[in-house]
């Protein structure tokens, strides 16, 4: 204990003096601001005029169907079989899995099913149910609905496997098998996508103003086409894709640290990579925000010495 009874090892008080007690010199803040606005304005205008900005058109489901029809058929069969990413996702879309965990904490499951999506029914069967004047489709849908869930899964799984066994997943080369109505449903789904009306059936069937693209985006992401296109543009997760954008543009370089973790182990090989990276970034962000209160780290700048480059003109009178 010190002589005044207070703990000897108490925290050293911040002795930084009031800035207003130091000698001053003229400084025109308004002039500085106006010059900054002018310089930045010119820079922005020149950069915009010279380099423009990327705008690769969105992939429509019609584009997808015309560019990679086999992928659309395989995706439809996968949705019906429950083998696509969205079908087995877990929260917030369904209860097909627990999703990612942070150690023992099932954070994803705790988020609960708040955007319920039954991939087979919501993404494939319901849109097909709106088609009229196609007896073969009507019969296929009736057969599908009258079958048990196990039978449905078996048919769709058999057809998915058969598609995988063909060169390029070509439906016309699938060998005969126990597929039930699935080949008809998948083929008609491709036809529906080619009409250009599938987006509307997924987004605005029950509302006039459609602002939520969750279903068509989940469907598109369930296929391989979107990812193939992205990887060709160096946008894959293992290609630093989270901070890139199409073309030779800077993208979001401020997300380099977030993207960095996905490139290294254990994150790059973990099934819980997203939860782990988010937790790590949350800790690091909290550390940045609370830096003034973290012993050791808050003293680091004094020892690094970079401040000597900034305060080179400090007069002897200002030194202790």
């Amino acid at each position: 204990m010190s002589h005044d009874g207070k703990p000897a090892r108490r925290r050293r008080r911040d002795q930084t003096p009031d800035a207003h007690r130091f000698p001053t010199r003229p400084y025109d803040l308004v002039k500085e601001f106006v010059i900054a606005v002018a310089v930045v304005g010119v820079l922005v205008a020149v950069l915009a005029a010279v380099f423009s900005s990327p705008d690769r058109k969105a992939i429509t489901l019609e584009n997808w169907a015309n560019a990679d029809p086999n992928d659309v058929v395989a995706t439809a069969a996968g949705e019906l079989a429950g083998t696509t990413t969205s079908a087995g996702y877990g929260a917030p879309y369904n209860r097909a899995s627990d999703g990612q965990k942070l150690g023992p904490l099932p954070l994803q499951r705790w988020g609960s099913v708040r955007i319920p999506i039954d991939s087979a029914n919501d993404l494939v069967i319901e849109p097909l149910s709106t088609v009229t004047g196609d007896p073969a489709l009507t019969l296929a849908l009736r057969t599908w609905h009258s079958a048990s869930p196990d039978q449905q899964t078996k048919w769709a799984g058999n057809y998915s496997d058969a598609l995988t066994a063909t060169p390029d997943g070509n439906p016309s080369q699938v060998k005969p098998g126990d597929y039930g109505p699935v080949p008809v449903l998948a083929a008609r789904f491709l036809t529906l996508a080619r009409t250009g009306g599938l987006e509307g059936l997924l987004t605005s069937r029950h509302t006039f103003y459609a602002t939520d693209q969750t279903k068509p985006l989940l469907l598109l992401a369930d296929g391989a086409y979107l990812e193939d296109q992205a990887r060709a543009d160096h946008l894959g997760g293992d290609q630093w894709g989270m901070m890139n954008e199409t073309g030779n543009y800077p993208g979001q370089p401020w997300m380099w640290l977030y993207t960095f973790w996905y490139q290294i182990k254990p994150f790059s090989t973990s099934g819980n990579a997203d939860a782990l990276v988010w937790a790590l970034m949350a800790v690091l962000t909290l550390g940045l925000i609370l830096l003034p209160f973290i012993p050791g780290l808050r003293s680091l700048p004094r020892h690094l010495g970079v401040h000597r480059l900034i305060w080179r003109n400090q007069t002897p009178a200002q030194r202790p």
């Binding site: 207003h20 000698p23 994803q108 939520d212 296109q229 925000i289 003034p292």
Partner: protein, 235 residues
């Protein structure tokens, strides 16, 4: 009611006094700065503010034509390009400003809240820029949203902040997040003006007695306290 009673019960007087105490007159727009403010690093705070203005202005121009206007109009596309490049510059300046303040340990001298508002504004700006990419209604939006959903869903917040919902993301991008960042920037600037620029490590101001020998005008000789008018001494 006496004038004294009025002064103690008036909310208006309370607010006026509170504002005066927070940033006394003369500190809002001082025409002098401490002599140690003499480096290019100090320019980047103002440069960040300038870039922020162009982000807001180009964003407002894009809002006039609507979410998909820039896909079909050359003028709209130019404003989108200005929005992109002002955002890039905004982050470049802000990151340099942030590193500069880190190397100065600019949280010293009761400036922790200044650092915190700046750091939270930085994080908020990243979220705002991210929702901008989601609101572009093009291929980048499709790919980024379908990838980003996994991160948010993995920690259980993907339904609250649904990156696949264009309507929600657009409103977050043009209303909620800019409002948060804007308020934080205003608070940050108020705190900077309130506390002044952090002094160098271990620097000590001259003793008041030493100042007494300098023939300064009377107002500048008043006892300097935190929140008082800047003491002016000749260079």
């Amino acid at each position: 009611m006496s004038s004294e009673q009025h002064a103690t019960s008036s909310w208006t007087v309370w607010l006026r006094n509170h504002i005066k105490r927070t940033v006394p007159e003369g500190q809002w727009l001082p025409d002098r700065q401490p002599a140690y403010v003499r480096s290019w690093i100090y320019v980047f705070g103002v440069a960040t503010l300038a870039a922020f203005l162009f982000v807001l202005a180009s964003g407002l121009a894009l809002a006039v034509g609507g979410a998909a206007w820039w896909h079909t109009s050359r003028v709209g596309h130019f404003f989108n390009s200005m929005h992109l490049w002002s955002t890039e510059l905004f982050f470049v300046f802000m990151v340099i400003h942030l590193w500069g303040k880190f190397f100065m340990a600019a949280w010293r001298g009761k400036r922790a809240l200044t650092w915190i508002t700046g750091a939270v504004a930085f994080v908020g700006s990243i979220a705002t820029a991210f929702t901008g990419y989601l609101s572009q209604t093009n291929f980048d939006s499709q790919w980024i949203s379908t990838q980003a959903k996994d991160g948010l869903n993995s920690v259980g917040v993907g339904a609250l902040f649904n990156v696949l919902n264009l309507g929600q993301m657009l409103l977050w991008h043009i209303v909620l997040l800019p409002l948060v960042v804007g308020v934080l920037v205003v608070l940050h600037v108020i705190l900077v003006r309130r506390h002044g620029v952090v002094p160098p490590f271990d620097a000590q101001p001259p003793e008041p007695a030493a100042l007494a020998h300098t023939e300064l005008p009377e107002p500048a000789m008043q006892a300097p306290t935190d929140g008082a008018d800047p003491v002016q001494v000749p260079r």
